[in-house]
């Protein structure tokens, strides 16, 4: 199969609340020459609900996606940390649990070869595509923006299931931030949990968890938090008023997907990256970003193939909150 071609499993969030993630992921990949082919007829990974209620459903739901991916024969890019975790858990079962594999193969009528591996989009861009090549594409550095990378609890853990980065002090997002020309702030809530789906059932607990993370981001002097998960994004954004009340402060910290960060640093127009869909406007960051030299915009052009082709740098576009 062609290099830089992946199956794409957006997961439910990216077709809903995480629209900006989907837009920016596609835009950034196109710019990098990474082709994403959305899996045909994919289904929900089961998320938090399945594995809390039915251990087989927790394997079978991602298992169906794995079967579809096997047929497509390409490694799968997964942007959502929760989907990624579920798919990796299923992948581990397929590889190590013979009983589970046989049952799954029977129920989904396929035979597992392991040729289609599930990878997080972050891993694909930083590890597969490579930081060196990526840097060449980042022609509109986000100088003057101070960011923290927030990995959440699922992206790099548990290490024997995912394991593409250090489980206690991951660096991949930090590398993205640095590559984009922003300043990396040091903080200690990188791998704390945002509350996940507790946002729905125990918003009080979720609010406290988010408050702690936001507080640390504020102490670190961050202008924005960079994430790689739609649920982290949703919690960190939507719970800011609640967190503000809890800590008697006024949080207004934009939360960006790492793909949005990269897209901006590539000079892609903010709207194309979905930056206009945020609840907390990233306007402040965009303003701070100095105009890229010699900018001229081409928006929404056809897929740009081949890394040698220099895409024109998009000018700054005001994103609405």
């Amino acid at each position: 199969m062609a290099e830089n071609t992946y199956s794409y499993y957006p997961g439910c969030s990216l077709h809903g609340t995480g629209k900006a993630y989907d837009l920016s992921a596609r835009a950034v990949c196109r710019h990098l020459g990474i082709e994403l082919r959305e899996l045909q007829d994919w289904n929900c990974c089961g998320a938090t609900s399945a594995h809390a209620l039915d251990s087989w459903a927790a394997i079978a739901l991602p298992g169906r996606n794995a079967a579809i991916a096997e047929r497509a024969g390409l490694d799968v890019a997964v942007p959502c940390a929760a989907c990624y975790s579920r798919q990796k858990t299923c992948e581990k079962a397929l590889q190590e649990d013979q009983q589970a594999r046989e049952r799954l193969e029977k129920e989904m009528s396929f035979s597992y070869t392991g040729r289609a591996r599930f990878k997080h989009l972050l891993e694909i861009i930083v590890k597969d595509y490579g930081l060196e090549r990526l840097r060449e594409k980042l022609t509109a550095p986000l100088t003057g923006v101070r960011a923290v990378g927030y990995y959440g609890c699922l992206l790099v853990r548990p290490p024997d299931v995912v394991g593409f980065d250090d489980p206690e002090d991951p660096r991949t997002l930090d590398d993205v931030i640095l590559a984009s020309g922003a300043e990396l702030a040091n903080w200690y809530a990188k791998t704390d949990c945002c509350g996940g789906s507790l946002a729905l059932v125990r918003p009080d607990v979720c609010g406290q968890m988010v408050a702690r993370i936001l507080q640390q981001a504020k102490e670190a002097g961050a202008d924005c938090i960079v994430v790689a998960c739609p649920l982290c994004h949703s919690n960190l954004e939507t719970r800011q008023p609640m967190a503000s009340k809890l800590l008697r402060t006024d949080f207004e910290i934009p939360v960006l997907y790492f793909t949005e960060m990269l897209g901006l640093a590539m000079g892609l127009p903010p709207k194309r990256l979905g930056l206009n869909t945020h609840l907390i406007s990233p306007r402040k960051i965009l303003r701070r970003k100095p105009q890229a030299v010699g900018a001229a915009a081409t928006v929404g052009g056809p897929a740009q193939r081949g890394p040698e082709r220099q895409e024109e740098v998009a000018g700054e576009e005001e994103a609405d909150g």
Partner: protein
């Protein structure tokens, strides 16, 4: 024609519950060569053994088969019983119908049938038993103690007190070990140095003890009673006989910034140094890797200031070859390096320290003269958090085992801090408190109740800096709440682990280590200080983490084993060893390559009939453990294991396979 007696044991209900012992005895009575068969409740007991002895007399038995437990438990018992009954002790056999039958089966019918089969096999084998005799081994009545910590010192003192010579080999420049680094000891709070240093002096002045410091055991050969150890005494660059210990050399040494191993990396030392002022021997060494003269060829200040002319830059490593009858391993433990813990900062935060480092920080002889100052800025901490089980009971990053001493030393640390500064807020995160020793539980209670240390049951998920404080985030699982504590200093009760080179030493000594590289004892309950290699004993924490009382006790225990061995005029070796039949041996020495005990030598052999001379293998009976590997490896079937001859094994197999 043999007359075999079969004795089937009930082992209370252990066997009788699952195996119909009466049917086994009845079946045995009908087996060929069996003259008598009976059962008894506990065959190993005194009345049980009397039944055997009387049956031997009454029925003129010449061999006995005991169907009971594993031979590893009671083979010796019944061999002695056979001997007492007037038989050669090797005319006794055991059929294991407990561990290999009743304990692992539940179907009574099938278990009984299997027990009968096992007895049948033992009977078939007993028919071919031969008289075997133990041989005498001379003993070199000198002991080698490897490791000069408190366990090794105690072992050396006790062997010496029994009147035998001891060589105590220590790797570092001074004896004293871990205990010398400690401030005070639990649960009595007497100062470690006050009780250890007199022992160090005592062992140094004992005429029976020769202390070799700054030295390591390079290799060991030989066997029980007759070991030869090669010891490398590293060049000290200071003449032991000339140095008067005045200390001017290390006061004047210009290389002062070397992290002090003795102070757990916290303080510094010079290139010529004694690890601590009470060192024994009180003779400095030059650390050649850091000495300015050895690095650049210039300096020699120590030489100039030494009034005793004791500095000798040209000194060479010295190789000592010594004979020993027994070896005591007392190499102690390492402490887990907490830099594997990302959640505690990967060892990057200066104010997150290990318990051992705290010992040095509160010790009057330590880098801060006993005033607790935190490493980052020298501030005296107002709040301290202790985190227990760092690396212990942690399958994912550390070890699954409990390091045994940390609950106690953490309680000790908290009390010591509170005694000096009662206003210090102290928190201790724990999983469980394990304080099972004399006065231990009371001691922990004192920390909690009398000194008001906050014990929080739960794990710490993260430690990170905020301003000049460390934030400790954890859970109080009794309250079911997350807690966040700001501390000036965080102390980790890091796991005790095997020495990094324990496995290497184990290989030299031919003793086993467990999966954590701790030395393995011969039996976890009944032979705790012996190894499976005869003549090699264990003392102290090299076997498993031990506190001071346990280390001292095991040192004494190992010494007692050695002393009792040395008190005999000669040792007896097991006759169940391999034997080469030189007539058919072709001298290929395949056996030598497979022998795990280096027990096979090559010797010349003259055929008595043809007068032809050839090279053949020969088993060193002192070294052979009777494992039988060589027997299986021999191409020409020229090796037999006494007591386990091919004849015996094949009859057993045939019986097992017979319908």
């Amino acid at each position: 024609m043999a007359r075999i007696g079969v004795f089937v044991c009930h082992c209370g209900t252990n066997i009788a519950k699952t195996v119909d012992v009466d049917r086994v005895a009845a079946a045995a009575a009908r087996m060929p060569n069996v003259a008598y068969a009976t059962t008894y409740l506990y065959m190993c007991s005194d009345p049980g053994q009397n039944i055997i002895k009387e049956a031997v007399k009454e029925h003129s038995l010449d061999r006995i088969v005991v169907a009971a437990c594993s031979p590893s438990l009671h083979e010796k018992t019944f061999q002695k019983c056979a001997e007492a009954a007037g038989l050669n002790p090797y005319f006794s056999e055991m059929a294991n119908i407990r561990e290999q039958c009743s304990w692992v089966h539940s179907d009574r019918e099938e278990a009984t049938a299997k027990a009968i089969k096992l007895v049948q096999m033992a009977v078939a084998r007993a028919y071919y038993d031969q008289e075997l005799y133990q041989s005498q081994i001379p003993v070199h009545r000198r002991a080698l103690v490897i490791g000069g910590g408190v366990a090794g010192i105690q072992a050396a003192l006790d062997v010496a007190a029994s009147g035998y010579e001891v060589v105590l080999v220590e790797r570092t420049p001074s004896i004293g070990g871990r205990m010398a680094q400690f401030d005070k000891t639990f649960p009595t709070l007497d100062c470690a140095a006050c009780i250890l240093t007199p022992k160090m002096v005592e062992v140094a002045s004992d005429p029976n003890v020769k202390i070799v410091t700054y030295a390591e055991v390079e290799s060991v050969s030989g066997f029980l009673g007759n070991f030869e150890a090669v010891i490398r005494r590293r060049a000290r660059s200071v003449r032991m006989d000339a140095c008067n210990g005045c200390g001017v050399c290390y006061q004047k040494c210009p290389s002062k910034k070397i992290p002090s191993e003795f102070n757990a990396g916290l303080g510094t030392r010079t290139a010529i140094y004694v690890p601590f002022p009470q060192a024994v021997p009180n003779v400095p060494v030059i650390d050649r890797e850091n000495c300015r003269y050895f690095l650049t060829g210039k300096c020699r200040i120590c030489e100039k200031v030494c009034s005793a002319q004791a500095i000798d830059f040209d000194q060479q490593d010295e190789i000592l070859k010594e004979q020993f009858g027994a070896i005591i391993v007392a190499t102690g433990i390492d402490v887990l390096d907490h830099s594997i813990y990302g959640e505690y900062g990967y060892g990057r935060y200066p104010d997150v320290i290990s318990g051992l480092q705290l010992e040095r920080l509160i010790n009057a002889g330590g880098p801060t003269q006993g005033i607790l100052k935190r490493p980052s800025d020298g501030k005296e901490p107002e709040s301290v958090v202790f985190i227990q089980c760092v690396g212990s009971r942690d399958d994912s990053k550390g070890f699954p085992y409990c390091s045994k001493v940390c609950c106690m030393y953490t309680a000790k640390h908290t009390i010591l801090l509170k005694e000096k500064h009662p206003e210090t807020e102290i928190y201790s995160f724990y999983i469980d408190i394990r304080s099972t020793g004399k006065g231990y539980e009371e001691f922990v209670r004192r920390a909690q109740e009398e000194f008001g240390v906050h014990y929080l049951r739960g794990r710490v998920s993260r430690v990170y800096p905020r301003g000049d404080k460390m934030v400790v985030m954890g859970v109080d699982s009794l309250l079911g709440q997350q807690v966040e504590v700001e501390a000036d200093l965080v102390v980790l009760a890091t796991a005790a682990q095997a020495r990094s080179d324990a496995k290497e030493l184990a290989r030299k000594l031919n003793v086993a280590t467990d999966r954590y590289n701790f030395f393995t004892e011969a039996h976890p309950k009944l032979r705790p200080v012996e190894t499976l290699t005869a003549g090699v004993f264990l003392a102290g924490a090299c076997q498993f983490p031990k506190d001071i009382p346990d280390s001292v006790a095991s040192g004494s225990a190992a010494a007692a084993k050695v002393a009792s061995m040395f008190s005999k005029p000669f040792l007896l070796s097991e006759p169940t060893v391999a034997e080469v039949l030189p007539l058919t041996c072709v001298g290929c020495l395949n056996c030598q390559s497979v022998c795990p005990f280096n027990a096979i030598d090559e010797v010349a052999f003259v055929n008595p009939l043809t007068r032809e001379e050839k090279k053949v293998a020969k088993v060193n009976e002192g070294l052979c453990n009777g494992c039988g590997t060589c027997v299986a490896a021999c191409y020409s079937s020229s090796i037999q294991l006494r007591g386990f001859t091919d004849e015996q094994i094949f009859r057993q197999i045939e019986t097992a396979l017979a319908p």
